[in-house]
């Protein structure tokens, strides 16, 4: 009886996804439909017994998970490069064109160094910059708007780590130039598509304060790069600027195999070639750490719909015509039913035994998330992590599980190794074994380990 109370929510979700994917809505309508649906479904969730007694923080987490669930499912219909890759609909926005222009433009500016942007340099600053670059590049490894935002925030957090490390003042005067420098050096694929996707589909309320600030800063950095000329830089004459750009053009046309065909300096090219590598998330150049730890997109796409326990028969058609995907072996209706019930029970017991976090379920779930995505880490209060996300967490886990589960142990090891390497690049004088110990002490959380090591140094 208990688990049935969440049934309607699952039903709404399936119907919505089915309706949404039927035909291409205009982008503004997509945004409205999704945000309205998330508002609507949160009200329906509140009416369900499962969520009726949880704290507001827990409930907020559940709505976050719902946003993630919906956007993971609708990614191929909403994220411009994914729409193009799928080829089902035409891309209505100019995101891809802007991506391509930006990507190419940044390639012309590979020669820009710290002095041109007045970015301070000190011991280990390269390590910080490289780390910030890695964090930013991960934006293409995630589908949910929130996760993409977290990549941006992590990147910014590392930049502030550098600012503190160099004992310069923590403010926008110092932050913005480093952010621009990091964007130039990272040159992520699909950067504009990502930023636009976040602005369109991230819950606007949650995009308002701190996340909003750093997203705006990134947009500012992009705008700066889009219009940058020699007057925007320090320590360079017009002649030098032009020579450097000219050199970059020469080099780029000398290596045609390295990337998409190059269109010379004017960026208003109306006709852009289709099928270039920059528009496909699958072509992300992953850093060793990134690919090892959290390649959500690396796993085969499995747009399956988890079966709700008592509706197994009726949901199968949804699987076929709604999502059109192939189920992964783990996505078994009966298994889900069992899990589902377990969660209900544990949920109930944790509700009756005060707010004791459900550890087993949580660590279970955290296997599917990279450690620095774990909410306690950078963004959220400890309670956030402690709270169980009952049903949705399971749904989400099911969604992301796939092959990854089998690789979890391996990934964990790779993650630690890559983390040690990263730490070592920042704290060159610190012994590797110390880095490893600290990192393991922080459960593989590189951010936290950096903070710890900074305290120690």
């Amino acid at each position: 009886m208990r688990h049935r109370s969440a049934g309607p929510v699952g039903e709404y979700v399936r119907s919505f996804i089915k309706g949404f994917t039927k035909k291409p809505y205009r982008v503004a309508d997509q945004t409205k439909l999704i945000l309205d649906f998330l508002d609507f479904i949160s009200l329906r969730m509140r009416e369900c017994e499962v969520w009726s007694n949880v704290s507001s923080t827990e409930f907020e987490n559940a709505t976050e998970a719902m946003e993630k669930l919906i956007m993971n499912r609708l990614y191929n219909y909403t994220f411009s490069p994914a729409i193009k890759r799928e080829g089902r609909w035409s891309v209505q926005t100019d995101d891809l064109e802007r991506d391509r222009v930006l990507k190419q433009r940044i390639r012309l500016f590979g020669w820009i160094d710290e002095t041109h942007l007045d970015v301070p340099v000190g011991d280990h600053s390269k390590g910080f910059v490289d780390f910030a670059i890695q964090e930013l590049l991960k934006i293409n490894h995630y589908k949910a708007p929130r996760d993409k935002v977290i990549c941006i925030l992590n990147c910014c957090k590392v930049i502030f780590g550098l600012i503190r490390h160099l004992s310069t003042q923590e403010n926008a005067d110092n932050f913005v130039p480093i952010l621009i420098f990091v964007v130039l050096r990272a040159n992520p694929d699909n950067l504009i598509s990502n930023v636009e996707y976040i602005s369109r589909f991230r819950n606007p309320e949650r995009l308002s304060s701190e996340s909003g600030y750093y997203l705006s800063s990134l947009m500012g950095a992009i705008a700066f790069i889009e219009t940058m000329d020699y007057t925007s830089l320090s320590n360079i004459t017009q002649k030098e600027f032009e020579e450097n750009v000219e050199d970059a053009v020469q080099k780029m046309s000398a290596q045609p195999e390295s990337a998409e065909p190059f269109t010379p300096v004017q960026f208003d090219t109306g006709k852009l070639e289709a099928g270039d590598t920059s528009s496909s998330p699958a072509s992300v150049q992953m850093t060793p750490q990134g690919s090892g730890s959290d390649g959500e997109d690396g796993a085969p796409r499995s747009p399956h719909t988890p079966n709700m326990p008592n509706r197994q028969g009726s949901t199968d058609p949804y699987l076929l015509d709604g999502a059109g995907g192939v189920r992964t072996p783990t996505d078994d209706g009966s298994e889900f039913g069992e899990d589902h019930r377990t969660v209900q029970e544990s949920q109930q017991s944790s509700a009756t035994n005060a707010p004791a976090p459900n550890r087993s379920k949580r660590s279970d779930f955290s296997n599917f998330l990279p450690s620095f995505l774990s909410e306690a880490n950078i963004l959220q209060t400890p309670q956030t992590q402690a709270s169980a996300l009952p049903l949705l967490k399971r749904l989400q886990a099911q969604e992301e599980e796939g092959d990854q589960q089998r690789q979890v142990a391996q990934i964990d090891r790779a993650h630690i190794d890559a983390g040690v390497e990263t730490l070592k690049s920042i704290f060159a004088e610190t012994d590797s074994s110390v880095c490893r110990l600290v990192l393991e002490g922080c459960d593989g959380d590189v951010q936290q380990a950096i903070d710890k090591l900074l305290e120690m140094s």
Binding site: Y12, L153, D173, V176, F224
Partner: protein, 219 residues
């Protein structure tokens, strides 16, 4: 979102040339004035601080710092978009910084939200011996442009909390209360509150949900 009593939030953008002390001003405000200072989670370019106006009224400022260097001027619109208020800072020992402040103010008046509340702050009164901008001059300008005005010292903590309190008092609190409470009702915890407005939304996509909604009523 945790409770309906959470303070009303307002976006405040901080503008002014580099080295006029705009971040020091905010740090002073955020760290000294009240007990509930909380480290920002990412970095100090974005900070929040609350001001209690009276028993019932608490205002939360979300403070957006901007880069003051001339070359980053074009980024400013990203920051002052949707700002409820702005603090434009100059250095009383640097007349050129007041000119710069005036150009920011002109831009805000042209480009920002038409209801934005702008405060002009002449910082560094602790350097009185090097004063190069007379109080009267800036005061007159502020009056003409309908700005709030105070001279401050981040170093001596002079007029800092006064500046922010002055702004808080000018904010359209009641209007914001309605808007922000309304938003919350739609978002989460007040079940009854937003329910009416929800029906009919997303209608296109909810066919087949009819069955489900009956179930929902049973739980």
């Amino acid at each position: 979102m945790s409770s309906s009593r959470s303070p009303l939030s307002f976006k405040l953008v901080l503008l002014g040339e580099s080295a006029v002390g705009k971040s020091s001003l905010v740090l002073r405000f955020v760290k000294d004035q009240f007990d509930d200072y909380r480290e920002s989670t990412i970095g100090a370019a974005f900070l929040t601080q609350t001001v209690s106006l009276d028993e019932q009224t608490t205002v939360k400022f979300e403070i957006w710092d901007t880069a003051g260097q001339e070359r980053y001027k074009s980024l400013a619109p990203m920051y002052y978009r949707n700002a409820n208020c702005a603090v434009v800072v100059y250095d009383i020992t640097q007349p050129s910084s007041l000119e710069k402040a005036k150009s920011w103010i002109r831009e805000l008046q042209r480009q920002a939200d038409s209801n934005i509340i702008i405060a002009l702050a002449g910082n560094k009164t602790d350097l009185a011996s090097r004063r190069a901008v007379q109080t009267e001059e800036a005061e007159k300008y502020a009056a003409e442009e309908n700005l709030l005005f105070l001279e401050t010292s981040a170093k001596d903590s002079y007029n800092v909390s006064e500046l922010f309190t002055m702004i808080a008092r000018k904010l359209p609190l009641e209007q914001a209360a309605n808007a922000q409470r309304g938003g919350r009702a739609g978002g989460s915890n007040l079940m009854g509150g937003g329910a009416g407005s929800q029906s009919g939304r997303a209608g296109v996509d909810l066919r087949g949900g009819g069955q489900g909604s009956n179930d929902a009523c049973n739980c």
